[in-house]
Amino acid sequence: MSDLFLTILLTFDATLRVSTPLVLAAMAGLFAERSGVVDIGLEGKMLASAFAAASVASVVGSPWAGLGAAIIASCSLAMLHGFASITHRGDQIVSGVAINILVAGLTIILGLAWFQQAGLTPALDNDSRFLSITLPFAEQLAFIPVLGPIYKELISGHTILVYLAFALVPMVWWVVYRTRFGLRLRAVGENPTAVDTAGLSVVKLRYKALIIGGVLCGIAGAYLSTAHNAQFTRDMTAGQGYIALAALIFGKWRPLTVMLACLLFGFLDALAVRLQGVVISGIGEIPVQFIEATPYLLTVILLAGFIGRAIPPKAAGKAYFKER
């Protein structure tokens, strides 16, 4: 077994772990934006749910209670976004920015009030967080060349939320493209007037999309603080909500391509960690900042239409006025 092979496997393994919150958040954004509501607030919802999950898990001692709290927190914010941008037809972007900033401050203030530490929750013990699962026969099959290590290192040994996130992607695809709700969802994001004329409520459909997004974002946040880490720390999302948004655009609002974009961005993240301080012969040390910036750069280039075209749902960002 060469070291290189193992290094590559471990990098891919890390890719899966860092991509998980991106996949969940991007799917949340997909529902919202496909219904015509731009969701800049992914970052804030993730941060709030990470805080809620870690707080409740540390008090109750169960990761599932934490997950529940995360989903409630995230859905409440999603409803606030809906109240402002659907019911009151406020600017969707302003509302999202408000949520992000509000949560950034609130998590620190509440952390200080509840746990006497600014922006921190108590470290979670193993009983109150999601632990990695070793899939059956992972140890026994490890002797098989190539496939054995792949199974042991790459596929086995993740928390349940990682498997859930990747299992959700085909489900999202099925819901969006193969169900009546999905058809209506796509229609309301492209042409709400037509949906309204067909006798369906634009407002209800958009709220439904935001609730689904809230649940998914809640899982993403809970993953960050109770599975990937064992604590909430100040500003722990660190722009991942925006990366998810970038992946959503990069994947052109389609579930499977969005997942691939998340994996690509996650891989770049894992690579940046792996290449820290490594000198590659002939090239020299690659600055980590350059790799970190790549997802943003790629998204800008794509949006500018230099590599393909990213066309958002037609009605995204616009409030629906029935009377017009």
């Binding site: 606030l80 408000a98 509000l102 203030i109 009030a113 006497q116 922006g119 925006y242 900042q289 350059f290």
Partner: protein
């Protein structure tokens, strides 16, 4: 009062006032939830911000940053553009100011250094906004998404430069070498001492004058020039402006460069005025704070100065609050910014239907028939 007048009053005065009050009320509830007496907190906060000379100095010093970013966001808003990139533009503006100072001969006088650093900040901040502006105007990508991406690009770019290129080798933390003394923006307390007055030392420097001049210039530009008219026309009704012969592409480019340049000036107050070297993350929070300031100030320079003063008060008073009370931190200001953006921005018209119904109801049919129509 005629109904139209009443509606104008509701829109211009009552609604903004109610929105701000709601934001304050929610903050008060939050204080009460975390076991802090809101009145007591307000008292400590006001004492911290205005109770002593140094505190007042800090308050105005922070307000200076908010005037710059508030104006930056407002200028873009007037053209119907939402510039979320103030954060990145302020950061890169700092690079412009820093480079201008570090590359000039250190023996030169302040009359060279200070204008050079201001021009550096304007150009670099403006250029960082030019790229998203170009992409929006000519390539059709959305300005909000690109400016968000450019915030992150700015952060990576600056970290790279600070760590690998501009780092002062004698220092543990990545920061540039100290600016020559001649290049420092004079402190207000030094100027006052020169004039024979003695006030306590604080970071407050003459950048506040620059900020006030910028506010006047922005007012003049937007309301007294042809370009300003074209910008406001585009923001109010893009297609009408287009038919009037205004090129929306040019508007986007001009407005965004101006917006980025204004945001870049944060570095004059922070770096040239106080830190006297290029440091990491000096800009954090001011770009986003500018959104709250612009929304609260109704995008008018005078309103922005008042809103900036309020946020400066909260910033400085919040520090005092964190010092006095163990169960609260300065981040309460961030919460307030979020609430202001929510209630003055996204939920701007929440109370409007209700106010119209009770204060300016549509006259009933029989009343209408009595009045000569």
């Amino acid at each position: 009062m005629k109904r139209d007048n009443r509606i104008a009053w509701i829109n211009r005065l009552l609604l903004p006032l109610l929105n701000i009050l709601t934001a304050f009320a929610v903050t008060a509830v939050l204080f009460w939830l975390i076991d802090v007496n809101p009145m007591e907190a307000a008292e400590v906060l006001l004492y911290g911000a205005f109770g002593y000379e140094e505190g007042i100095g800090y308050t105005i010093y922070y307000a200076t940053n908010f005037i710059f970013t508030g104006l930056a966001v407002a200028v873009a808003f007037h053209a119907g553009l939402f510039n979320i990139g103030g954060e990145g533009q302020a950061y890169v503006g700092g690079l412009g100011a820093g480079l201008a100072i570090l590359m000039l001969d250190p023996t030169l006088g302040a009359w060279v250094f200070i204008p050079a650093s201001i021009i550096g900040a304007l150009i670099f901040g403006g250029l960082w906004a030019l790229i998203p502006a170009y992409l929006q105007a000519y390539r059709g990508s959305h300005i909000v998404i690109t400016t968000i991406m450019f915030n992150f690009l700015a952060a990576s770019f600056m970290v790279y430069l600070m760590v690998h290129v501009l780092r002062d080798t004698g220092q543990m933390t990545p920061q540039s070498e100290l600016f020559p003394t001649n290049s420092w923006m004079p402190f207000v307390h030094d100027v006052a001492a020169g004039l024979g007055y003695s006030i306590e030392a604080s970071p407050l420097n003459l950048s506040i004058l620059l900020a006030l001049v910028c506010a006047v210039l922005v007012w003049f530009f937007l309301w007294q020039t042809r370009w300003g008219f074209a910008i406001r026309a585009t923001g109010k009704n893009g297609s009408a402006a287009l038919y009037a012969g205004i090129n929306p592409k040019h508007i986007i480019i001009v407005v965004m460069c101006l917006s980025g340049a204004l945001a870049g000036l944060v570095s004059i107050n922070e770096l040239v005025g106080y830190q006297h070297r290029l440091i990491m993350d000096f800009h954090l929070g001011y770009g986003f704070g500018g959104i709250a300031v612009a929304l609260m100030g109704r995008n008018h320079p005078l309103g922005i100065i008042l809103a900036a003063l309020l946020f400066g008060t909260l910033y400085q008073g919040g520090a005092e609050l964190a010092f006095e009370m163990s169960n609260i931190s300065r981040d309460i200001v961030v919460v307030m910014q979020g609430l202001v953006i929510l209630f003055c921005g996204a939920l701007d018209y929440m109370y409007r239907p209700w106010l119209i119904r009770y204060l300016a109801p549509v006259p009933k049919q029989e009343e209408l028939s009595g009045v000569a129509v």
